[in-house]
C-alpha cells in the first residue's frame, strides 16, 4: 500500500498519508486504534491560531489549538509554520513535548519554509479532538504570532473487511482459529484488527501524539 508519514522529501508536495479504503493504524500515547479511511480532502493553508503579541525575549504561554481539532472518527494530517518571527515548540497533546530530544526540544521558526519547503519535517497527526498545543519564543517584540497549517482531513470508520482480499483473509484467520458459522460484525472487526496488528493486511501507521509524553519513562 502506498503512503507513509513524512513522505514528501524533495518536492513542495504534501501527499495524504492514506487514500480512500486504505487501512490506518493510529497510535495515540498508549492506545492503538485501527480504522478504515472512507473520505479524504485537502485543507489549504490557513491561520489556525494567533498567539498574540509577545514582548522582547518573552516566552509565551503553552496554548492549545482548538482549530486543529477533528470531528469524532476523523484524523488530521498537518504541516505548519510560524508566519511571524518566533521560534515555536509543538506539544501533542499539551502534556507531551513533540519532536523532543534528550536535552533539547528543537523549535520551528519561519525559515522552515526555505530550509524545508515541503514542510514534511513539521508533520504531525491529530486524532479526533486530541489537539496540539504550541509555545512561542520571541527574540524581538512581536505584534502577533500566527501559525499557518495545511494538510488533509480523513474521515474513518471502524475496521471492517472491505475488499475481497480482506474478506478472504478474515475467513482464513477465522478458520485458523477454528471459528465456524457466520461471523458477526464484531468478530469480523476483531479479526481484521488482528490481521493488521500482525501485518498480514496492509495498514499505514501514524502517531497522533508525542511519544507517550510524560507517561513514558525514559532513562
Amino acid at each position: 500500500m502506498e503512503g507513509y508519514p513524512f513522505k514528501s522529501i524533495n518536492s513542495l508536495d504534501m501527499e495524504p498519508v492514506a487514500s480512500m479504503y486504505h487501512n490506518i493504524t493510529i497510535h495515540y500515547i498508549r492506545q492503538t486504534i485501527y480504522r478504515k479511511v472512507i473520505f479524504t480532502e485537502p485543507i489549504a493553508p490557513f491561520q489556525c491560531i494567533d498567539l498574540g503579541a509577545l514582548g522582547v525575549g518573552a516566552t509565551g504561554a503553552l496554548t492549545n489549538i482548538p482549530n486543529l481539532e477533528m470531528y469524532d472518527g476523523e484524523l488530521g494530517q498537518w504541516r505548519w509554520y510560524p508566519l511571524d518571527n518566533a521560534q515555536v515548540r509543538l506539544y501533542l497533546p499539551s502534556t507531551g513535548s513533540k519532536q523532543d530530544l534528550k536535552n533539547i526540544q528543537p523549535p520551528i521558526d519561519p525559515t522552515i519554509v526555505s530550509t524545508n519547503p515541503s514542510l514534511n519535517m513539521t508533520e504531525f497527526f491529530v486524532w479526533q479532538d486530541n489537539r496540539p498545543a504550541v509555545q512561542a519564543i520571541a527574540g524581538l517584540a512581536l505584534n502577533a504570532v500566527r501559525i499557518i497549517a495545511k494538510g488533509y482531513r480523513f474521515m474513518t470508520l471502524a475496521l471492517y473487511p472491505h475488499t475481497w482480499e480482506e474478506k478472504q483473509m478474515v475467513k482464513r484467520l477465522a478458520s485458523e482459529k477454528g471459528m465456524t458459522g457466520k461471523l458477526t460484525l464484531s468478530q469480523e472487526k476483531d479479526l481484521m484488527e488482528e490481521l493488521v496488528a500482525e501485518r498480514r493486511v496492509a495498514s499505514v501507521d501514524v502517531w497522533a501524539s508525542a511519544l507517550g509524553g510524560s507517561s513514558v519513562t525514559r532513562a
Binding site: A58, Q87, T111, T115
Partner: protein
C-alpha cells in the same frame, strides 16, 4: 546562488534618533535577541539614514558596544544633510555581529540623525 539552509530571516530594526555624538553615546539600532534557542547573529544588510544636522555632513559609526568597548562593524559612512543616506546589500560587506548593533555620529554640529537598519538574523 545561496543555500536556503544558510539563510537567515530579514529583520528591520526600529527607527532610532541619534541626538548625541561620540562613542559614549552609542545607541542600539538592532538589539540582538538572546531568548531564542541557539545562538543568534545578525548580518548588516541595509542602512537608511536621514540627517537632521542642518547644513552639515557627519560620519556615522556603526558597530557593537559602547564607549571604549565600541568596535566598528564597517567603516564610518558619510551622511549629508538634506539627503537620504542609503546603503543596500550589494554595497555592504556581509559582516556578522554576535552582539547588539550600536551607532553614533562622530560629531553632530546641530540637529540629529534618524537611523534604521535591516539585518539578516541567523540562528544556530
Amino acid at each position: 546562488m545561496t543555500n536556503a539552509l544558510l539563510e537567515g530571516r530579514r529583520v528591520p530594526g526600529p527607527v532610532v534618533n541619534l541626538a548625541l555624538a561620540a562613542a559614549a553615546n552609542a545607541t542600539a539600532i538592532y538589539t540582538r535577541p538572546t531568548a531564542y534557542v541557539g545562538t543568534t547573529s545578525a548580518i548588516l544588510r541595509k542602512i537608511l539614514v536621514r540627517a537632521n544636522a542642518v547644513g552639515a555632513a557627519v560620519w556615522l559609526q556603526i558597530g557593537t558596544g559602547v564607549a571604549g568597548a565600541f568596535a566598528n562593524l564597517i567603516p564610518p559612512v558619510r551622511v549629508m544633510d538634506n539627503l537620504d543616506g542609503e546603503w543596500q546589500e550589494v554595497e555592504l560587506p556581509a559582516v556578522e555581529a554576535f552582539a547588539t548593533i550600536t551607532a553614533f555620529p562622530t560629531t553632530l554640529p546641530a540637529g540629529s540623525l534618524d537611523v534604521q537598519i535591516e539585518v539578516e538574523e541567523r540562528r544556530g
